[in-house]
Point group: D2
Chain length 277, copies 4
């Protein structure tokens, strides 16, 4: 019997070696446990917390990741630019201006005769760089995908890398019914608002950080706090401890491309004690 749903795992910003190791350690068991068909992972912080590297990319691919998306930190490691230009499994936000290295969307073949999936990487502008409009760019990408992919692309996954919740939510509504899922990245904190929007798009404001949580969004606590206390530069140092895997799992209907199930994956769980009553 033909498989009726496609299961997609999205992994939130992987931070540094601790994050890479966690993906290496856990991803295959999650793929098996949840029958995951395709894995997308945001890697903008995989290279020691800032940017990407070929080595980090290879580690992610070996761990089972199919496509690596990026964000503002994609540009932090100049040595990665060549890989960005040539490697088919790496994306950077599509709405960087014309002339920027790399590509922002691509169509990938799914296993098991499930057809194709398009992955689109976008970046917000509120409190961030003044790049092209993510809304109009999304419209353009969908049109391209439909033209290029013909009937085979029923699934479109969007990683919206943005700071402001309003911008991500507005994009979710804007794309509801036009894409399979809109999942946010960049804040490094998982949000609890995963849902299926009325027209069938899976949405979550942020997939959270896969990396060291004894930290301030991946950075050692003292350096991060000193930046705020003194408002002067303090060297970025990647944290190491309390590593968690953070992502979002989606089941998409193969026939329609719509999301029929969405669930956050955070492992291991934080200590929450017990509410007394």
């Amino acid at each position: 019997m033909a498989q009726k749903t496609l299961n997609v795992m999205f992994i939130g910003d992987v931070v540094g070696t601790p994050g890479l190791q966690m993906v290496g350690r856990m991803l295959k068991s999650f793929i098996s446990k949840y029958h995951v068909d395709f894995v997308v992972c945001n890697g903008e912080n995989a290279h020691h917390g800032k940017g990407m590297s070929l080595e980090a990319l290879n580690q992610l691919l070996e761990a089972g990741v199919n496509v690596v998306t990026g964000g503002n930190h994609t540009w932090s490691n100049f040595n990665f630019f060549d890989t960005l230009k040539t490697h088919p499994q790496v994306l950077r936000p599509l709405n960087y201006p014309k002339g920027t290295y790399g590509k922002g969307y691509a169509i990938y073949k799914l296993p098991n005769g499930l057809g194709d999936i398009a992955v689109v990487n976008l970046q917000g502008r509120t409190f961030m760089y003044s790049i092209d409009c993510p809304f109009r760019t999304a419209d353009w990408a969908i049109k391209q995908i439909k033209e290029q992919g013909k009937d085979k692309v029923r699934h479109i996954f969007v990683d919206i890398h943005a700071e402001a919740t309003a911008e991500k939510i507005a994009l979710g509504w804007y794309l509801d019914g036009k894409v399979s899922a809109v999942i946010g990245t960049h804040t490094h904190v998982p949000t609890a608002d995963e849902r299926i929007l009325p027209k069938g798009t899976g949405y979550c404001t942020d997939a959270g950080m896969t990396g060291p949580h004894n930290s301030v969004i991946g950075m050692q606590i003292k350096s991060a706090t000193d930046r705020m206390l003194y408002q002067t530069p303090h060297k970025y140092e990647c944290a190491e401890d309390d590593v968690h895997f953070s992502g979002v799992l989606l089941s998409m209907d193969v026939a329609s491309g719509k999301t029929v199930g969405i669930q956050r994956i955070f492992y291991p769980e934080f200590d929450r004690g017990v509410i007394q009553g």
Copy 2:
């Protein structure tokens, strides 16, 4: 037998009449169900989505709220300034500069002989206004509370109203062990990172929004999206539909003031479908 834990409910940014009605409809049942002793509620958007009003304040107090905190939108309704100056149950972020109306922390008597609780309202600065340092202001407030409250104030609750996850997380670590809880507001999206930090402080980056979720953080979708599409002003109009209650429930040890249980409350749940497998 003396009660050993104090249960505190914190309600995330209440937006407009829909949010006020939801608090009015649900809070008492939650108080009963979870044995809540004390309720703090962020009200910066209670007055039609922007600012506070005496009417909204009274509705919240009648619904069972004990203290109403604020944020950047506290200043959006000029008519509320008198109430801000005089009403004992209203706070605004403490780290607004000297000379600003209102107060930013206060000590309140708990029921059932549980002693006193201090509530401190702070605001972040990243991507926000250049007000006083929230870290140093927190230290100052704790010192004041200890001096004023003597042995009776074992519980300190902090609402950190901020945009950037890094700033909220850094404050959580900075205050771990010094206060009972640090819970964030302002982004209107609940985060799934509620936890008990190593030294006993309950922490959650954002308590989310109590209000209409068929919206962009409470605003009608079209107006909000138009602001982003055209980068020009579009009138704020409060949304109305898909109203949810969003907050965080904490159990604190009465003897030590430490948090022993933390749980998000989001009601009703979003539609998440079912993961296939």
Copy 3:
């Protein structure tokens, strides 16, 4: 004998009734004194300090202005939007996204058989709204102007409305040799860097404010200072006193369109006392 140079007067942001009155009182004498052929004026603050109005527009046109440019405050007065759509002599920054009311460049007939002049209004993005790229938009506009205007448009005047000096200067260099002049607005302070760039483009970072200088960029001193002291909203109130005219005068070669003379006009001069020696 045919006139060999075109004299263009550009008037910096006109603020409120005091600014409008100053233009009405002085412009005609400047036109006469300096043999001005064409007058462009930034009017984004003409309507009581915020936005434009049909009444303010008519006052400027009667005073001798030929074209009124805008900026971020163009959108502050909703009542002006119809005029923006229909009136041939009003521009708003061209690089607002597609779908925005009004137009951002136009070609105007010059007097005395001097051919045509194009006026292009652009806005920066650093510390401002995330609109389209002003550099690429300028290229596009120049191409349109060349196509539409054929040989008759030898002069192109650019008002770059921006906050950051770096963005304005970069645009000046980018357009050197492609347009007759790039003059900045928005900061309300005249800069002393007027110059002719190597390829013949007249450049000045800011043309300054025509309006009340007993103020903080046109606003009453106390309100403006209170905003900074308290970081809370304080009502905008337009100042009234110490009104000065501030602009830039350019002589352009009629045959080539290049600038051959540039001079700031600030009237009356500020009190500067005397350096002792």
Copy 4:
């Protein structure tokens, strides 16, 4: 006969080796020509365009500078922090938070029995870091100076390093009559609004840049423009050509400390051609 006025030269942001060489080449002739008694110089960009160094400091002092002020770029060269802590002639903005290296004001002995002068370095917050309030910090510094300096400090010079014109102008009005002069830095463009405010304070929004003007505020044109075109990082490279000296000269009454003459110094002048008429 006793000297009745004190002449103070303030040099705007010195950028890189070209800027240092220009100061070395010209300052002594200006000191002689204008009878300058005291020289203050903003050096935040002296070290290859970003930050300060001991070597750059020594070059400035040898050239005739008495005090070197700073700004946001003071922190760009970590190797300078020791000098910042110990060297009496180096200042950094005073309103950086408590615990920051270095000092933000000092009292210096004037030559020729003219008494003492205090130099205060402040930084704005609009579009910059969230440091302490520059207005309140200025009040505090003036109080300290009066207490420490007794009757001998009649002159107070303020360098306000800030982005927004509104913040600098507001500070000028706020300090009018309380200090001898408020001169701005940071934008690297000289403003033409030098004036004597009603109560005797010399004011100018920006003293401009002493450095290479075939550049974008000191940076090579291509790198600077690429940053704006692509919104990605491009290496800072200091420009080299078209070096100008930019500063402000003030005559202050020795008895009252008030400014009696203010004049911009920009050398050599830019090419402005000739207005035709």
